[in-house]
């Protein structure tokens, strides 16, 4: 210590100490600190997401100097890696080629007395209920159809068969690699999609086997002679005798062949009778039915006052009010008729995964000579937000009839309950408090159903929202969300919850969580595109830049081109420029916007901002070009002065 103390007394050392202490401390503004902090947490988020996604970065080995890491060890490690890789490859190949159960197989329809075995039990002639988990097609399964019975079975995507009456068919093999049926008696008409190289589809009979290469064909076994007959409707089927080797024929479309004394006869042109047109059309119908189930549909909830009106959609009768049905998306004309009331008609648009609520107030038919213009009330549930139904109020006068008016109002449904209508009226004039009182009292009525309650709750939520009481709005919406039974409705309510949280309550964390739920649960929901955009925006607002960038990029790739995507591209460019300060990337996104969205409302701004990025990248000539282009396109633009001054500076 003494030496050190003595040293400190030396003038040279004292001067050195003063010199060292004179070094100014580098400071940062609060803004710079904030930027640094945000960038740090974005970096951490990115690392987190890389770790979570199990990206290959996990397998990055530290590179050690050759001296520390002898070549021998390197060799062993490489060999070990090779062995592991071969093992994984072998396992994967085996796994890929292993036969799997036919997950898509299902019994599409049963008519009459059909016996079929499932994993658990044997059913006889039990009709297939919609939504019931259909049994898979599996080994040792036996189908038997009685007289007049039919059974349609889907094998896999694009392949199905239909069994005619008095048919017995055993399933010998049914997996992703091979399908083998044994036809004891009767007839089978099969439509088989093209088989892969390692896939086989065979139908055996006592005396023949038919090998399929992707076709429509029927095989029948006569109940008396047990002779096999094969008719090919489309494609080619190879048939061979079982006992006599070498007896094989390739049967082309429109040909029929029979097996006689275990010998395959020469193929002949099939007659119309041999091609079972009826079974063919049935099979086609069943396939169409299956395909239809994937057609985008929306929910149509129709109520009327009074209830019991007949509903016609495009003049097709679909049922009586109240009715909630899923209906393929599209534009339709809906007509409600009631014997004692005037006919109600309107145009509706059913949107995929959207609920369209229609409430029609049917007016009593006017007294003769006193035709009164009946009112139409067609409302859209506010929860759907989008204009799903567009009632044309002005030109749609209800059709007039001459029957006497019905005075009995007992039949009036709840929706046209005068108190409820009053509440709606109060809401339209902004008297939310009054509407709320009415709705609260209605909600407590013992006779109301759950559907009605949900409707009231949606109105209550709207009232709270109108009053600016967002916490309550959220509470009511959350309750509605829990009570709603239909997915479409749930999706829409969830979207509304997200909007209230993000826009009204600024609860970004909550909104983010809900958006993730929405994306996960309703990937085909109406708001899915906006959901991605909103997620990105929220992540940006909350400083999670890495996540926001990822979300925006995913969104842009997923939806290619739309107004929402255009905004995402612009936002992404801005994040790169202002927050990440990756000017090269910013230029890339601005360029994308400028090239792909030339009509964009962000065009001018993007042009200026890209020029700014070019300047930061010391690409002054490019920057100049953009500034000039801006001045050319927007001589009176709000960035005119800035552009001019920057151009002057550069010149």
């Amino acid at each position: 210590m003494e030496t050190l103390q003595n040293q400190e007394k030396l003038p040279e050392i004292q001067r050195l100490r003063t010199l060292l202490q004179s070094v100014p401390e580098e400071t940062k503004s609060e803004h710079a600190w904030q930027a640094l902090e945000n960038s740090l947490f974005a970096r951490m988020d990115e690392m987190e997401s890389i770790r979570a996604s199990g990206s290959r970065k996990l397998f990055r080995f530290p590179v050690m100097p050759a001296a520390v890491f002898p070549q021998r060890i390197l060799g062993i490690a490489a060999a070990a890696c090779l062995v592991v890789l071969i093992g994984v490859e072998t396992f994967y190949t085996a796994y890929r080629s292993a036969p799997r159960p036919l997950a898509d197989s299902q019994i599409l329809g049963v008519k009459g007395n059909v016996t079929y075995k499932t994993h658990k039990s044997v059913y006889t002639g039990r009709p297939i209920q919609k939504g019931q988990q259909p049994p898979y097609l599996f080994k040792e399964q036996v189908f038997e159809t009685a007289a007049g019975a039919t059974c349609i079975v889907q094998i896999d995507e694009g392949s199905s068969f239909i069994l005619s009456e008095n048919t017995k068919l055993s399933v010998k093999k049914a997996d992703s690699r091979s399908i083998d049926f044994f036809l004891h008696t009767g007839s089978i008409l099969a439509s088989v999609s093209k088989r892969q190289q390692n896939q086989t589809f065979m139908i055996h009979t006592e005396d023949a086997e038919c090998k399929v290469i992707g076709t429509i064909f029927s095989v029948s076994v006569s109940p008396t002679s047990h002779r096999t007959n094969l008719t090919v409707v489309k494609g080619t089927v190879s048939i061979s005798g079982k006992k006599e080797t070498g007896s094989q024929e390739l049967v082309q479309s429109g040909q029929t062949v029979s097996v006689n004394n275990d010998k395959v006869m020469k193929p002949q042109t099939a007659t119309d009778e041999q091609i079972d047109i009826h079974a063919l059309s049935l099979l086609k119908m069943a396939e169409e039915m299956r395909a239809e189930s994937t057609v985008p549909t929306g929910l149509l909830d129709i109520a009327s006052s009074p209830e019991g009106a007949k509903i016609f959609i495009n003049e097709k009768f679909i049922g009586k009010t109240p009715l909630a049905v899923t209906y393929p998306s599209g534009n339709y004309t809906i007509t409600l008729t009631h014997p004692d009331f005037t006919t109600w008609e309107d145009r509706i648009t059913v949107k995929q995964l959207n609920s369209s609520f229609i409430t029609a107030s049917l007016q009593p038919k006017p007294e003769e000579k006193e035709p009164a213009a009946a009112k139409q009330v067609a409302r859209k549930n506010p929860s759907t937000r989008k204009k799903a139904i567009t009632p044309n109020k002005k030109d749609k006068q209800p059709k007039q009839t001459v029957q006497p008016a019905r005075k009995d109002t007992k039949d009036f449904g709840f929706i046209m309950n005068p108190a409820f209508v009053e509440a709606l009226m109060q809401m339209t004039i902004g008297e939310y408090q009054k509407a709320l009182v009415i709705l609260d009292s209605l909600k407590e009525l013992p006779e109301i159903s759950i559907t009605e309650k949900i409707r009231i709750m949606s109105k209550i939520a709207a009232c709270y929202k109108g009053m600016g009481n967002f916490e309550k709005t959220l509470r009511v919406l959350t309750r509605r969300y829990k009570e709603a039974a239909i997915d479409i409705e749930k999706a829409n309510i969830l979207w509304e919850i997200i909007n209230v949280k993000a826009n009204c309550l600024q609860d970004y964390e909550g909104a983010e969580k809900d958006i993730l739920t929405y994306i996960e649960k309703y990937p085909n929901g109406t708001w899915i595109e906006s959901a991605y955009a909103k997620l990105g925006e929220i992540q940006y607002i909350t400083g999670k830049y890495a996540k926001a960038i990822g979300t925006f990029q995913y969104h842009i790739n997923l939806f290619k081109s739309s107004d929402v995507v255009e905004k995402s591209v612009y936002t992404l460019a801005n994040i790169m420029r202002l927050d990440i300060k990756d000017y090269a990337m910013a230029v890339k996104w601005y360029t994308k916007l400028l090239e792909e969205y030339p009509g964009s409302s962000y065009y001018g701004n993007a042009l200026f901002e890209r020029a700014d990025c070019y300047e930061k990248l010391n690409r002054h000539s490019k920057a100049q070009k953009d500034y000039k282009k801006y001045l050319e396109l927007y001589p009176e633009g709000h960035l005119k002065a800035l552009c001019s001054s920057r151009l002057t500076l550069q010149e």
Binding site: E12, R15, E25, H31, A32, A35, L40, Q506, N605
Partner: protein, 215 residues
Amino acid sequence: MATDTMNLSRQKSDYMVRRSHEGKKHEHLDNEQLVDGCRAGDKHCQRLLFKKYRETVFFVISHTLGTNFDKDDILQQVFIKIFKSLTGFKGLSSLDTWIYRITTKVCIDQLRKKYRKRQLQVIRNPDVLENRRDTTLSNPYEEREQEELTKQIYSGLEKLSIEKRLVITMFEMEGFSLQEISKILKKPIGTIKSRLFHGRKELAGHLRNYLNTEE
């Protein structure tokens, strides 16, 4: 229109202000609570910890590494290391000492990188630069002189061994006591004294021209 994006940045700044208010609510948190929060992955606590130590860490980095390093990047590395290693912080030393230790470790790693590229100082925030230009001191010569001197001091420091350089910057520039340095660097106090003694001597030799000017 662009107003959408303006709205977005406004919302963002509102959120940040709110977050900073929320942060202030937690300002009474002591180190133990902060550490617990950070360990649990609480982003608020992590941000608070960052706010609490950012300047100190930054000064250590800038004094130890001098110019020619992307200090912002290194500062981020330090904090990433801090948040990652907090689970292993047993509380045997104070949080401050532990953080300094991590900072010095990261700095040593940086200095030891044999094939280190001389990194250019990255200007993180051009706005700040612009502001600085506007509010330039009235005597630009004085500033230029100081800049030159600082440059020479750092170049002198760079000629020292990492160990000596660390002790000198911590003792003379950061104001740590010998005991604190001994704790941070986990070296006996005698070693620290010896490094300081010889380091001073060596540095004085390198900066001889500047030490003699006044005399």
